[in-house]
Symmetry: C2
Subunit: 217 residues, 2 copies
DNA sequence: TAATCATTCCAATGATTGTTGGATTGTTAA
DNA sequence: TTAACAATCCAACAATCATTGGAATGATTA
């Protein structure tokens, strides 16, 4: 039998392989994007504003850590997270980061300059209001992402189409806009546009991944 | 206002600071040790089989990521995790790693060559049996760690003292030994010794951190 | 006060990682 | 079949990280 020390080193090294995946900003962004549903390398590259080659290299890391799986559909290769645990871990890590790092808290506050941020403590009351139709929950992500998964009672108007489709929204009710999560700025833009146009709009920090974390504290 | 891209880069970079902490085997081992309670740099170094200087360097990373806090007590500086979220994250990461990485699964199986491993699905029944006194739950970690936190109904006999104190244990009941978690080999040794001496002993993979994860699936 | 101990800081090393350009594989469309 | 496309592999570079030795700090004990 090997020495206990060598066995332990081996074990921790394996776990560190998973940790490494979460140690690069770009990879984190890719993971967040994959939380919205399966995507091609090209799409991921564009959304994350990096080259296709670099995206491929990062996805390779994810693949080797067994956190994503691929499927060829015609010309494209689609990547998706292997299961919900991966999305959960992303949420846990960024939650811990927000809780601990003051720099991150301050950066996040900059995003929400106006006091139009919904605190995430009132999920139940938001859902109750949405059920009764007192508020409109608005998903401003691309429609494929909405189709893949969305919050209960949410309506889909991608940010790109929002200006033309403003007529679909009521002016007499509150609009709660959300997107991919706290680091996605789509909903911020949407809220700005809506407020400018005279709608009463607020921003919901959370996305589907955050909403769906197994561990609700 | 800065470009959206720059803001996003900043945000992910901050989160990656937390991720980086979990990307090094030694740091993971230190975190697991800190899950057992506060410890001095020297103790941590000895337990993790690395130099004090290197330990100090790794702890510096943990400190800068705001995941640990320090307190001077006399000559020594004690380190402890800032809160339970950190321990939870460690458990989540190693659980995901065990779930995904076949190499890790195989290494873990090597540890438990005999079929004396308790699956972790039967927490409730184990506790029920422990309450009734049908089994003895045995904590073989150093006694300070036991004093800091231990499983319900557990008795403490540190591995080092086990041979001398065998008489305290009954031969007519099952003994369930545990230590710091699946990567700690104290309980493995304990079970080997107990079985050799004619006790019916089994090994519980989980430690207090795993037992206490908020998210029980 | 000096001496000792526990820990950290600083500087230097080799090893690892992120990133890019060029060539390559596998797939669809003409 | 060839051309175009999506994605990967390979090689190379700079940037970052783990690790070690030597000096420095801060607290305790003699």
């Amino acid at each position: 039998m090997k020495s206990a020390r060598k066995i332990k080193d081996l074990l921790y090294e394996q776990v560190a392989r998973i940790g490494k995946v979460f140690s690069s900003p770009k990879r984190l962004e890719l993971i967040e994007l994959l939380c919205q549903g399966e995507k091609t390398v090209e799409t991921l590259a564009k959304e994350a504003s990096i080259s296709v080659k670099l995206t491929s290299a990062h996805l390779r890391e994810l693949r080797m850590a067994q956190l994503v799986e691929t499927e060829r559909q015609g010309k494209n290769i689609y990547y998706r997270l292997v299961n919900k645990s991966v999305a959960d871990l992303w949420v846990q890590i960024h939650t811990l980061a927000e809780e601990r790092l003051i720099e991150l808290q301050m950066s996040l506050q900059k995003i929400a300059t106006q006091p139009n941020d919904l605190v995430h403590s009132d999920r139940d009351s938001l859902m109750k209001a949405a059920r009764k139709g007192e508020v409109v929950v608005l998903d401003v992500r691309p429609s494929e992402e909405y189709l893949n998964a969305h919050l209960p009672f949410a309506r889909s108007i991608p940010l790109e189409e929002l200006r033309q489709r403003l007529g679909e929204l009521p002016k007499d009710r509150a609009i709660v806009a959300y997107c991919r999560g706290p680091y996605c700025l789509l909903a911020v833009d949407a809220v700005a546009l809506l407020q400018q146009e005279g709608y009463s709009a607020v921003h919901l920090r959370e996305g589907v991944a955050e909403w769906a974390v197994t561990d609700k504290r």
